[in-house]
């Protein structure tokens, strides 16, 4: 039997990956502040989960200075998008099997 992706399965990380793979964000990525609003996580919590996803190779974070203020942009990698697609397929399979 297939298993869920243990990295993505965690609720905040699931929301992060869902946001980063949503249409329009899949190529441009999202700013940290916007991701925080979308996931409802705190700064520290979100940062820790992004680190976790970065270590897994699912996302990449780039830091830049815009108008002298630091701005972090997070983007899903190709392997992150593939892993998320597999996880969604797995979830849909469970629903389909139960029907």
């Amino acid at each position: 039997m297939r298993a869920p992706d243990e990295i993505i399965h965690q609720p905040i990380r699931l929301r992060i990956m869902a946001a980063l793979t949503a249409p329009g964000c899949d190529t441009q990525g999202l700013e940290f502040a916007r991701l925080k609003k979308l996931t409802g996580a705190t700064d520290g919590n979100l940062g820790a989960h992004i680190d976790h996803l970065t270590r897994a190779g699912y996302v990449e974070a780039t830091k830049a200075f815009v108008a002298r203020r630091p701005r972090t942009t997070v983007k899903a990698t190709a392997s992150g998008r593939a892993a998320f697609d597999r996880h969604v397929a797995f979830l849909k399979e469970i629903i389909a099997d139960a029907d």
């Binding site: 869920p4 399965h9 979308l38 469970i94 629903i95």
Partner: protein
């Protein structure tokens, strides 16, 4: 690790919720930029009016045409291109202008103040309707600016043009800024 049907359903619902919020956030962002641009256009339009009243009748057409082109460019830049963006936006503009011309040019006999209020409130009515699909922010902007414009129309008297420029210009810019950050 096994997941129950309920857990899988909850995860899929969470994903749908995030995707919906991302979509709304993108719509708010580009709409905010468009509103801010139209705010600047209001100042340009009424600035031209103040400088050359006799040519005002044509100047607003030019300013509106520039605004429509910029709107299409902003939509395109936001990636709301081919499928749902400029084509539909231009069709919406054409419908509003068509409706507006029929009423203001053929049926209604509006004075300059009424004409100005009519066109502003017509497009703000569009904001209110858009709010039914794209979020309460559009509705709030449409209703607030319409109320302010009507207040200017009723109470401003001789100060109508400077006040309508201030209310629409600043109104669109502030509302657009708020939408961009929402």
């Amino acid at each position: 690790m096994a997941l129950s049907r309920e857990q899988a359903g909850e995860e899929l619902a969470a994903i749908d919720d995030v995707v919906r919020r991302v979509k709304q956030s993108r719509i708010y962002r580009v709409s905010g930029e468009i509103a801010m641009m139209w705010g600047v256009m209001q100042f340009v339009q009424y600035g031209v009016f103040a400088l050359a009243q006799s040519r005002f009748g044509w100047s607003w057409l030019v300013v509106d045409a520039i605004g429509i082109v910029l709107t299409a460019l902003l939509l395109r830049r936001a990636g709301m291109g081919a499928a749902a963006g400029p084509g539909r936006a231009l069709a919406a503009f054409a419908l509003f202008y068509g409706f507006g011309f029929v009423w203001s040019g053929l049926i209604g006999h509006y004075g300059p103040h009424e004409m100005s209020v009519f066109w502003h409130t017509l497009f703000l009515f569009g904001y209110c309707v858009a709010g039914l699909w794209f979020g309460v922010g559009f509705f709030a902007i449409g209703l607030t600016l319409t109320a302010l414009i009507l207040a200017v129309y009723i109470f401003a008297g001789a100060a109508f043009y400077p006040l309508i420029a201030l209310v629409t210009g600043c109104g669109y810019i502030l509302c657009g800024y708020w939408m961009r950050r929402a």
